[in-house]
Amino acid sequence: MSRQALGEAEENLARRFEEIERRDREINSFIELNPHAQEEARRAEKLGGRLAGMTVAVKSNINVRGLRATCASKTLENYVAPYDAVVVERLRREGAVILGMTNMDEFACGSSGESSYFGPTENPSAKGRIPGGSSSGSAAAVAAGFADAALGSDTGGSIRNPASHCGVVGVKPTYGLVPRHGLIDLAMSLDQIGPIARDVRTAALLLEVIAGSSREASMLDVEPQPYSQRLSADLSGIKVGFAKEYEEVTSPEILGVVKRALRRLEAQGAELVEVELPNLEKALPTYYLIVFVEFFSATRRYDGRRYGYRIEEVCGEEVLRRIMLGSYISQKEYAGRYYRRALQFRSLIRRELLQALEEVDVLAGPTTPKLPHRLGERLTPLEMYAYDLLTVPANLAGIPAGVVPAGRVNGIPVGLQVQAKPLQEQVMLNVMLAAEGRA
């Protein structure tokens, strides 16, 4: 960032706070604002760094020292984080200013942004519709222009789903590329922290700052890569795969937008290849059976002794349902009927995805099978889970996946999802860059 731009960090922050003050009562994207942001902006101006003065909002399940990591729950309503998550430390080191903690589905259990203890979030890009979840507040804050970028977490699509519904860019990195130390887990074998931004370049910059191995976290031993410097929209020689199974599960209006986006990629030099994912529909039950068990296990620490309330006494319906299911499956698992079977399917789905990615450089397709519903509309749990059908395979396989705006249906944003081989974030970002701005 230039010297002149550095001088603008405080102004940038003031502008963001003004906007939040003016419009967030309606959108409800923040749970808490950082009272030290002004001081941090001043320090960032002096220190510089790759993100100098950039305002970043953080999902309420990632620890930021001195702010509440509530997970949008009553259980952790008053839990003040005693340390910075590794990703937050890295943001600060590069001059980012933490704006505050964003709203989300309670304990990240949701795909709509409606299940927060602090009330639902409104979609700034499609009034009256859900913003998607669970990183609802992070995506909404970026879409509303409250923050330059945000951090979210993605267990089965929680970054990509709201990015698609709100018309912004979201990236779920390869499992193990970004340290999870300081993230309050939903399902630890699937969770990843990732960036949400208005454009691919900013998302790439944030990713290169937060990625790479860390002493504190058990993860892949990888060096950070300068993704933003190596971005290229030239797709010559790049093979883009489209699975025909996407057509069977996606609504026609979303498919129309996605196919137009694919044709634009083709016009920029990419070769389109049809691939097969015969077990695509099995990914959803596989994912949920694993999540129920891992979530149940993760919530046993909320027994009312260390963290305020006993979770079962104060949580919302979806959280309770998942705890019940996790508890039931764990008791019945001696027969290997649910969890072990789900793990076997997980291997099958991973193998299938990696095989498809042997034939092509990336897979591109829809992010969600349907458009976001109206806020307050009552859906059954299975109808709600169906939003995740196309995003969970990437989590099960541990591969990177990103979403970039592709167009609109009746004014509602639709995102193109791009998936790549493990650690091939650069190719994925390049394809996203090519798709960007031509929606």
Partner: protein, 75 residues
């Protein structure tokens, strides 16, 4: 919670529906094979040479070749 019974009922339905989809395919049982070439037998400890010297060198209190962890006193 007043609608707890309702949530339980929905949970049962969810489990039935989800697990049904995973019953259709017969999967092969796979096992993770551990390479046991460098396995140490319990009866053959690997002694770390120099460990005693290293431990003694950082001991806050020592008595000859012994590390003083706690000194009893008459009360």
């Amino acid at each position: 919670m007043s609608n707890r019974r309702e949530i339980e009922r929905e949970a049962e339905h969810v489990l039935r529906e989800l697990s049904k989809h995973l019953e259709e395919i017969e999967l092969e049982e796979t096992y993770h094979v551990i390479d046991a070439e460098s396995l140490r037998a319990d009866s053959s400890p690997e002694l770390r040479r120099g460990f005693r010297e290293a431990a003694l060198s950082i001991a806050p209190r020592r008595d000859g070749a012994h590390y003083v962890a706690e000194a009893g006193t008459w009360v």
